[in-house]
Symmetry: C2
Subunit: 381 residues, 2 copies
DNA sequence: TTGAAAGCGCTAACAC
DNA sequence: GTGTTAGCGCTTTCAA
């Protein structure tokens, strides 16, 4: 199918000789009518060039700004762009110009508000630089991660931000082979040579621990999603460190898994036989929810019977009663940092890999209270 | 910069004559070495063709399946694809073949878990068909919506799913002009000619109303985000209808805005002077949070003092105490329906515009209780 | 400073 | 059934 517009071939001179008015008339008569006839749906650089009476190269130069163009032509080109509502085809400019103005983002699960917020932060960060975002989710599996990555990478994005679905991060090979600059966010991949943007997990854990310790709690249980993730281990290590440094035994931890039902079940089995715990520290979103859900089910009141510290800080944590003491991750800042680092790599920076470590903020609220008495088994029963 | 690989020009015959083994040897010696030398980062269809000893046309035919290819060549091509880890450049095939295998998704705010879930559902739906998702957020403004839409559309996606930031939906013009098939999700644009996937908002409202009415509540307050949105008005209309049909006066409503702080402030001002309300029905996420937050601030207990119905159904609503009675939107199904409709349009369906209306499910939990006594002003004070 | 033209990687139309 | 080739809409030499 032939879709391009056939224009009577005009020399450069004739285009320049013609006045702006007659050029427009000419354009209307020919180009617009032709466009309507062939039902060409999108306007291309050629249409702009015709209307402005310049070559497509000049249009490109005006738009990319990579080459000086005389002021008068600039005006004509911009006018034509506005009149036609022209927007350069991004696939085409990507194809010709190398990497495209997209950044690919891979997260384990968009349903998890933390990852969703991260994507939101990233989107806000990149759009300022004229980039778009293309998202994929691994939904837990390394196989799916690799597969999604492959199709995302097939757009030849300018860069990639990835939250690996596990520490092994086998897909790193896929990414590296593609040559696309990337940064690993949130999760730290063991011994992976890559730029990383994480949170100071150790400090975050330590802050929670200090808080409950300061309130007099000694028998604390940690609700971790899974110890297979290094960032979780780091958070736990921070808690452990705080206890150990005071000569106290390290708190126990439960792996609650990655969904609410599992979390609740596992915690419930634990709490059923538990007599001493006076505080829970959650290390993830579902840890928080699992703890809350279990305590409710067991009829235990927060903070009267047990204190609870949540992880992440969402609006609902402020709204419910009691509002939750929690560790707030600087999601916004993570997005910005990841983009800053990625941007630098895209622009050719080739220093050593960096790990940006952002600080969390501990937000004390009403779900934690001074230690009174330990959980009585008779109550929990 | 010249990046393509210079191969000694070989005739088709010579390629066919060579055995598979010698072809590979040949390839290794020439192509791989050359690729390394020029540091060409990505493998193209040409590389595959060389290694398989076929023409690029054949490679394309094997991969797209649009033309029959002899079994033996299929095997060779697939082998080469696997060995090289070839993934067709999506921008290039889009450029040549028309619309690309991406669907653009525009939502007001990715930070809102409802929209995030919708994007997640969409991502899950489209990837089964080999599509990717490119996201943009309007963050409240019609101007930003139009701007983001323009860049998203510049990728010439196969389709678009949009949740307009307001009912005016001025950007509809931008979209329509691009010729990209689109479906409007969640929000209903007044008098817009487009496929729509929404929820049966009226029924959802009615279900909430029936629930509280059945519990004996008569003095109910509705927490709406803003009545400027038609889906919110529809939800309210459902509630109103239930009351009116029983000969009861329509419940009052408060516009709580779109963030937690505003919501809490406005509701707080209302509740301060309120003596009669015995139940709140929230019509959005922030309505729910605002109500909860205000009641806590005022020291009112749920459901002892006031019953509360939330909108949307998130994990935290099940975890907190009391767990929230709520209207669950079928987000998953919305994503699937939107994609199904869009897919049909992409494939050329040109019937009249449809509005798919999905049913919500009312989930009764412990935040609603039988009407006891109305709120005493002395308590609220 | 500008226009002409090559070519990015691919698909589809066309030869054979 | 397979190879060759013309572009898709751009960016970027290369001439003028």
């Amino acid at each position: 199918m032939r879709r391009s517009i056939e224009l009577p071939r005009r020399s450069a001179e004739s285009a320049c000789d013609r006045s702006a008015r007659s050029r427009k008339t000419f354009f209307r008569k020919n180009v617009l009518r032709e466009r309507a006839r062939v039902r060409k749906p999108v306007v291309s650089i050629k249409d702009v060039a015709s209307l402005a009476g310049v070559s497509i190269g000049t249009v490109s130069n005006v738009l990319t700004g990579k080459r000086a163009v005389k002021a008068e032509l600039q005006v004509r080109v911009r006018g034509a762009v506005a009149e036609l509502g022209y927007e350069p085809d991004r696939s085409a400019s990507r194809l010709r110009g190398g990497r495209g103005r997209v950044v690919a983002v891979m997260v384990p699960d968009l349903t998890n508000p933390f990852f969703a917020s991260l994507v939101a932060a990233l989107e806000a960060a990149v759009r300022g630089d004229g980039y778009d975002i293309i998202v994929g989710t691994s939904n837990g599996g390394p196989a799916e991660e690799a597969a999604r990555l492959a199709t995302l990478l097939a757009w030849r994005p300018g860069g990639l931000v990835v939250v690996p679905c596990d520490d092994a991060f086998a897909s790193a090979a896929v990414i590296r082979r593609s040559g696309v600059p990337f940064v690993v966010a949130d999760r730290v991949a063991d011994g992976i040579d890559a730029d990383q943007v994480t949170v100071d997990n150790r400090a975050a854990g330590a802050a929670s621990a200090e808080h409950v310790l300061g309130l007099g709690h000694r028998d604390v249980v940690v609700a971790a999603s899974t110890m297979a993730l290094r960032n979780i281990r780091e958070r736990y290590a921070g808690i452990e460190g705080a206890f150990l440094s005071r000569g106290l035994p390290a708190p126990r931890h439960i792996e609650v898994g990655l969904d609410l039902e599992t979390a609740t079940d596992r915690l419930d089995a634990f709490v059923r036989d538990e007599c001493r715990t006076s505080a829970f520290i959650a290390l993830t979103n579902f840890g928080t929810l699992g703890v809350l859900s279990t305590l409710r089910r067991r009829g235990l009141r927060v903070p009267d019977d047990v204190s609870v510290i949540g992880f992440d800080d969402y609006a609902w944590m402020r709204a419910v009663s009691p509002p939750l003491s929690a560790v707030r991750q600087p999601v916004e800042a993570m997005g910005q940092a990841a983009w800053a680092r990625l941007r630098a790599r895209i622009d050719g920076a080739d220093g050593p890999f960096e790990r940006v470590r952002l600080e969390c903020e501990f937000v004390p609220r009403a779900s934690t209270a001074a230690f009174g008495k330990p959980l009585g088994c008779e109550r929990a029963a």
